[in-house]
Amino acid sequence: MISLKKLGVVGIAAALSLSFAACSKGGGAQATSNSTAAASGLVELSMWTHNAGNKEELAAVTSVVNDFNASQTKYQVKLQAFPQDSYNQSVTAAAAAKKLPCILDIDQPNVANWAWAGYLAPIEGMDDVLGKFLPSTVAKYNGKTYAYGYYDVSLTWVTRKSILKKYGIRTPTIDQPWTADEFMAAMKKVKDSGDFQYPADLATGWTGEWWPYGFSPLLQSFGGDLINRTDFKSAQGSLNGDAAIKWANWFNQMGKDGYMAKKSSSDPSQDFMNGKTAFLWNGSWTAVPTRKKFGDDILFAPPVDFGNGPKVGGGSWTWGMSTGCADAAGAAEYLKFAAADKYVAKVAQDTNNIPATDAAAALVPGFEEGGQNDIFRQYSKKFTVLRPETPGYPFVATTFEKAAKDILNGADPKATLDQAVADIDSNQQQYS
């Protein structure tokens, strides 16, 4: 049993440790950095990124920051990295405490909400530069630009040429994607063969943003949408009209017929690479591991045309500045500096994502015209539908996720979508 004396010793030792650690925020690192910046007469600009644990992207962003700092006699950017999975919570907590950094990266669909909430300040004086960026990499709200990104990602049907050949399935092209009938016929052929656990994997085991990002393009391809985009006030008719119900029935039937798992595993790419599935609906980020596994046999097919044209989601991580920044001019200067093509190319290359500008794409091996990854850039240019740029988007996203999951698990499509529309319409009232 612990004696009181021992306990006292532990307590005193612990308290001493605490006292050593005390009186310096950020474990001393921040204080040191502040004093270094102050000693050199530079104004420090704090910057947050979601890249902790993502070595490649963090290194790329750090190199941009280092270049900026080296070019400066006035400002010094200090980068802090947070893990992606909990980044939004960290930012909203900091906003609640009025401790937002000057510069931060934001997942594109959150920009409108954060701008409406007063977290973000508009970026001005960059229209010429940002005019050369892919539209999906420039985040706008109420006619103002709030953020821009170095890259985008695209959705694709990942499959193998050998599978298409074996089952006599036509190889689709960007100009002639699969029709709904072709796709369903392919599902049936593969299912009937019994060669795979499931013909397709739509990553239904993922949660959160994947559902609107991955599945609203399918809904849009049927002719529906998450919300009416004329005024973003209501989802009536878009999310519960005939086209949306057709999508819901199809989605439900995919699960019911055993064409896909109602809840797939945590890592659908691994299942695809392990031969458990034949078609994987996923993002362009799967290109590196799947190409490594299957080499030239891999095929990144365009999205299926379910009647209203093929669609993919758009928008990834973007950079903006906060309203709480004490030196907005410094933050704006960094954002202008960092938008150069060479930095767009650097970050896109190191993360294997679609470069935001044509000039940057030409600098990134694989994304140049005709390169092996150029197809993703073409999909992005041709098929992207941005997630609705409304402050209510986070609610729209979670409502859609719940409705889609319910439908997949057998809920009545019409009643479920009607309820989702009622919920979204009610929530959107606060933004009118």
Partner: protein, 309 residues
């Protein structure tokens, strides 16, 4: 005083004899054993899966899912996931932070909560029961509902260096969790079972309240101390939401936040499942070791205080 102590010891011994004297029916033996085996499998297999998977590459983890191989050390076993963890996360920093935060929280918690419970249990003053009632009432308020107001509050506090706000410090991860209603209740309940005659005997010998607390009540409360220590340590070690909200620098993040470093949807590597298993193994081992070290006292205390999990 020694008479009273031997009386307490005798009654504990009587209770032990009474429990030992209770004979189970013979046919119950195999059934209980079977139940134990099933429970062992239910609770043990996830741990086996965790540790075994930490040595496998991602593709083999997923290939083995749904088969017995998921629990067996077969395939391409290596320490790659562990080296990957060290490469991706400042593990030593996170571990040191968690140890510091947990140990200090436990040490201060034992002191503060036992003193509060001592006052409520042994001393007599007006409003004693009301104070105890109010403290216990706070048990029904989940932390999540208090997180934002607490964040606002700690952000208004003056800090040691003269600045305002405690965000991004060790203190903000410790101080709010020192005083704990459940710990006070555990101590209170245990202290109440210690005969008050001991206090009176000590007072006759000239001892004050602090001497009684330090030299009589606390030395007799080993099981309660062990229970409170482990019940304070576990949430401090597992703390996730609060550090996420209040830490901004990598230098002061605890281990649980580190778990998020392995989940990336985009990027060339995607989610590193093998590394997640390796990291989870690395942060679980200290807690398991602690539980094994304290389990006898912990179980004794639960048995004697009647507290259920």
């Amino acid at each position: 005083m020694s008479d009273t102590l031997s009386h307490v010891a005798d009654s504990h011994a009587d209770a032990t004899v009474a429990v030992a004297g209770t004979k189970a029916k013979p046919w119950l033996g195999p059934l209980v054993m079977l139940l134990r085996v099933v429970l062992c499998l239910v609770f043990g297999l996830p741990l086996v899966f965790l540790i075994v998977s930490s040595f496998k590459p991602d593709n083999e983890i997923f290939a083995a899912l749904g088969t017995i191989n998921a629990f067996l050390p077969v395939g391409s076993l290596s320490l790659d996931n562990y080296s990957g963890v060290i490469d991706r996360v400042p593990f030593a920093t996170f571990m040191m932070n968690s140890v510091l935060i947990s140990v200090v929280t436990v040490a201060l918690g034992l002191l503060v909560n036992s003193m509060a419970a001592f006052a409520l249990s042994r001393m007599e003053f007006r409003g004693q029961k009301l104070i105890l009632g109010v403290i216990l009432a706070t048990l029904i308020v989940p932390f999540e509902t208090m997180a934002l107001p607490l964040l606002w509050w700690v952000n208004q506090l003056p800090y040691f260096d003269g600045s305002i706000g405690w965000l991004d410090t060790y203190e903000v991860q410790i101080i709010p969790f020192v005083a704990n209603a459940f710990s006070i209740y555990l101590f209170y309940q245990y202290f109440d079972s210690i005969p008050k005659e001991l206090d009176e005997a000590a007072k006759v010998d000239g001892a004050g309240w602090f001497r009684i607390y330090r030299s009589i009540v606390m030395p007799l409360s080993g099981p309660a101390i062990a229970t409170v220590a482990i019940l304070t340590f576990l949430p401090a070690w597992n703390s996730y939401l609060w550090p996420l909200m209040v830490t901004q620098s990598e230098a002061i993040r605890p281990v649980m936040v580190g778990m998020d470093y392995f989940k990336q949807m985009t990027g060339s590597t995607g989610t590193a499942w093998g590394q997640i298993m390796a990291y989870a193994s690395m942060i679980t081992v200290p807690v398991l070791a602690l539980f094994i070290a304290f389990q006898r006292a912990f179980i004794n205390s639960i048995a004697s205080s009647g507290v259920k999990g």
